[in-house]
């Protein structure tokens, strides 16, 4: 089977069907890991049943005054949640870029998936919606 060649495979929570087969697509390997990291970053305290401690804190911290200390706090919280709950990645580093004029924060997460030599990156853009 084709998926046997993949090491990681996961459901895509967007559940957007394949336009041709109408099947729900899966995510594989690095893409699956990236989707997992993204899920962790967007998880808030008490959101997961019986696991209140899974929390990147980003939702709460965005409403604090934005300064250097806050940037460092957000970076370290994201690194912590990935280290604690995503054992497939190593060498995590988070970089934050703020674009005040655009009301946007860009979070770049650089990491290495175990047993895959090259570095991977995931960019998450947080924008003001209203």
């Amino acid at each position: 089977m084709a998926e046997d060649t993949y090491r990681y495979s996961d459901l895509d929570l967007d559940f957007l069907p394949n336009p041709i087969t109408r099947d729900v697509p899966l995510k594989y390997d690095v893409e699956a890991v990236k989707r997992s990291i993204k899920n962790l970053v967007f998880t808030n305290k008490y959101e997961r049943p019986f696991k209140p401690e899974i929390d990147s804190g980003i939702n709460r911290l965005l409403f604090e005054n934005f300064n250097t200390i806050r940037v460092v706090t957000i970076q370290s919280r994201i690194e912590d949640v990935i280290r604690n709950y995503e054992p497939r990645v190593t060498e995590v580093s988070v970089k934050m870029t703020d674009s005040v004029d655009r009301h946007t924060i860009i979070i770049d997460i650089i990491f290495r998936v175990r047993n895959i030599p090259q570095l991977e990156s995931l960019r998450i853009e947080l924008q003001r919606v209203r």
């Binding site: 089977m1 998926e3 046997d4 993949y6 090491r7 990681y8 495979s9 996961d10 459901l11 895509d12 929570l13 899966l26 995510k27 699956a32 989707r35 997992s36 990291i37 993204k38 899920n39 962790l40 998880t43 997961r48 049943p49 019986f50 696991k51 899974i54 709950y85 995503e86 054992p87 497939r88």
Partner: protein
């Protein structure tokens, strides 16, 4: 082909964690989805939701099953509903009751429009007579249970007419009404729920008026029915039951059992909202100069009326002249109680046949006031009294039930439910006080306690032992058990011996010659070299009872070791009456033939104590006897042991 090679485990837990572990274990048997055990994966999030939903449904099903059974139900509404199917209606809150004599005068004609002449001698006050009393900083309202009929008594000091009613039974509670208009337009599902959890179910009265514009039926009282026997299609009856949230529902017949309601009828429910046990013991301080109740005519229930209307409201007094305070107020039946009594009530079928039926019925109807209860057949009494069942109750407050409470038990609770030829009789509990004296050997070489602290420790222990193991019917005192426990208090207590005295308290009828029987119900042993029993000092006539011209003296009685009791002068120890009574040392029965006790303010108590010793170190109780540890007279002597004696 199955998705996974593994199987889901049989349900062994409703716990979220276990459910998720089972799902993860199941998914580990397939290769299509690999990320099920990484917390951030989409699979993990879906598994969380699935496990949570399973846990939630499992918990819900568990609760649903629990609430379906009397044993396991947690919600009051569920317990009440299940009890109903056993024919058991849980008791509502009960207002305290009191009996008063009321005397009114009305010089300013404030209530003249309320007074109706019944006949040439009787008057009746229209409306619900309400009385008010303050207690513990709160105002409590009492209403007359039945219509009060006054009689013309004479004139007060100012020449105004006085009317008088004796033995008026009042019950605590604020009178309220709730009106419903019958509307069956959209089906027959209208409910008449009284929004008051503190309702006293004995107070509910129902009137049904034909319509809002027609007054027909407005004075007809519909009666409460507790069974369907005797009800016909035209019987004006209503039924009452507790429903959800502790509220009560009035419902009516269907045209076969009981008269049904018609479209447009106006249902008026009047009831009392009571304070339960908070209103017990009101009136203890009532006296002619300090009356605790005041009267409020129905026209002025929300305002003070001139004190000129009220002449006096005196509370009924007992044989000793003390006011009989309010009694019988109870909280509504608890869930624990209904879980206990509903099946037992079903067993008794609301009838008193066996002894347990009597106990169950009383505990159900009177439980708030009962600390301990015992019943026995008259054939077991000494001497036997056939055709009777005796019930003895230790109340929660005080030592004895008052006369009104006894009548309530005999007439209201038991009379309608027991076998016709059997007479239920309530007798006072009989208290036998035990005064132990302990001698301890304490090893001071290894023990760290001081003599005083050890004495205090043992006294406290014995007091608690008395409260835990005695103070109720059918509880015996075993000294061996107590000694064993005392030895375990401290390893350095090397031995413990006990000497037991016991006493009974006689509450005499004063200034009247009377025969008394005091039954210790245990074999007796001597207090000293000769006498087995001795009394405390009391006041009586000098030479011969009934000789009222003789001087009163302080006296006591004791026996001569041969079963004869004699009366002695306490001042000079001279014999006054030789054959004053008798004592049976085997049965413990003391008889005074003709004793006359005098009330004397010089003596501080109104009781006579009779002291003796049990033949055995164990004291047994029977029938109405309750053993009590004499809390004021526990003696402990500690002897120290410091050398080894060979």
């Amino acid at each position: 082909m199955a998705l996974s090679e593994k199987q889901l485990q049989a349900v062994n837990s409703l716990d979220f964690k276990t459910i998720k572990e089972d799902l993860v274990n199941y998914l580990s048997g397939q290769e299509k989805f690999q990320d099920y055990d990484f917390e951030g994966s989409g699979m993990s999030i879906l598994l969380d939701i699935l496990a949570y939903n399973t846990h939630h449904m499992g918990f819900y099903a568990n609760m649903l099953a629990n609430e379906s059974f009397l044993d396991s139900s947690l919600l009051r509404g569920s317990s009440v509903s299940i009890a109903k199917s056993l024919g058991y209606n849980p008791r509502s809150r009960r207002g305290a009751e009191i009996i008063v004599d009321v005397r009114l005068s009305d010089p300013n004609n404030e209530i003249s429009d309320l007074i109706t002449r019944v006949n040439s001698k009787q008057f009746r006050i229209v409306g619900n007579e309400v009385f008010r009393s303050s207690f513990g900083g709160e105002n409590y309202f009492f209403y007359a249970v039945e219509t009060v009929y006054f009689e013309y008594e004479g004139q007060d000091g100012n020449g105004n007419p006085l009317i008088y009613a004796r033995n008026v039974k009042l019950r605590e509670g604020r009178l309220k009404t709730k009106t419903f208009i019958v509307n069956n337009q959209f089906g027959n599902d209208q409910r008449f729920i009284i929004p008051d959890e503190n309702l006293d179910d004995r107070s509910v009265r129902v009137f049904v008026r034909k319509s809002q514009t027609e007054s027909e039926g407005s004075t007809d009282i519909w009666t409460r029915s507790t069974n369907i026997i005797d009800n016909t299609s035209t019987s004006k009856v209503f039924f009452l039951q507790e429903v959800y949230d502790g509220k009560f529902e009035v419902y009516f017949g269907d045209g076969v059992v009981g008269q049904p309601l018609q479209q447009g009828n106006v249902v008026l429910v009047s009831y009392a909202s009571c304070s339960g046990p908070e209103a017990n013991n009101i009136g203890r301080s009532d006296s002619a100069t300090n009356e605790v109740f005041s009267y409020i005519p129905s026209s002025a229930q929300n305002s003070d009326v001139s004190s000129a209307v009220l002449y006096s409201t005196r509370i009924l007094q007992d044989d000793r002249g003390n006011p009989i305070a309010s009694y019988g107020g109870q909280e509504k039946e608890t869930q624990v109680s209904m879980k206990f009594y509903a099946p037992r009530s079903y067993e008794t079928q609301d009838r008193a046949v066996t002894l347990n039926d009597y106990i169950t019925l009383l505990q159900k109807n009177y439980s708030g006031s009962i600390k301990s209860i015992h019943a026995w057949g008259g054939e077991d009494s000494v001497p036997p009294e056939y055709g009777k069942v005796f019930i003895s109750v230790r109340p929660r407050v005080g030592l004895f039930l008052n006369t009104q409470e006894k009548v309530l038990i005999e007439k209201s609770i038991l009379d309608e439910k027991n076998v016709v030829s059997i007479t239920p009789t309530v007798v006072d509990a009989d208290y036998l006080y035990i005064s132990p004296s302990f001698t301890l050997k304490y090893d001071v070489r290894t023990g760290q306690r001081t003599i005083q602290s050890l004495e205090n420790l043992v006294i406290t222990y014995v007091k608690n032992f008395g409260l835990r193991n005695l103070a109720a019917f059918e509880k015996n005192f075993y000294s061996g058990s107590l000694i064993r426990n005392i030895l375990e208090i401290d390893n350095n207590i090397k031995s413990c011996t006990v000497d037991i005295e016991m006493n009974k308290i006689l509450y005499p009828i004063f200034n009247r010659s009377y025969s008394y029987r005091i039954n210790f119900q245990n074999a007796l042993s001597p207090l000293s070299r000769t006498e087995y029993i001795q009394s405390s000092i009391f006041r009586t006539y000098g030479n011969s009872p009934n000789a009222s011209n003789l001087p009163a003296i302080n006296a006591y009685f004791k026996d001569n070791g041969s079963g004869k009791i004699s009366l002695y002068n306490n001042d000079n120890q001279s014999l006054i009456v030789d054959n004053y009574g008798s004592v049976d040392y085997t049965t413990g029965l003391v008889t005074l033939y003709s004793a006359e006790f005098l009330l004397n303010s010089d003596l501080s108590t109104y009781e006579v104590k009779i002291f003796t010793k049990p033949r055995n170190e164990d004291v047994l109780s029977a029938r109405e006897t309750i053993l009590e540890m004499n809390q004021e007279n526990i003696q402990v002597l500690v002897e120290t042991v410091s050398t080894v004696r060979m």
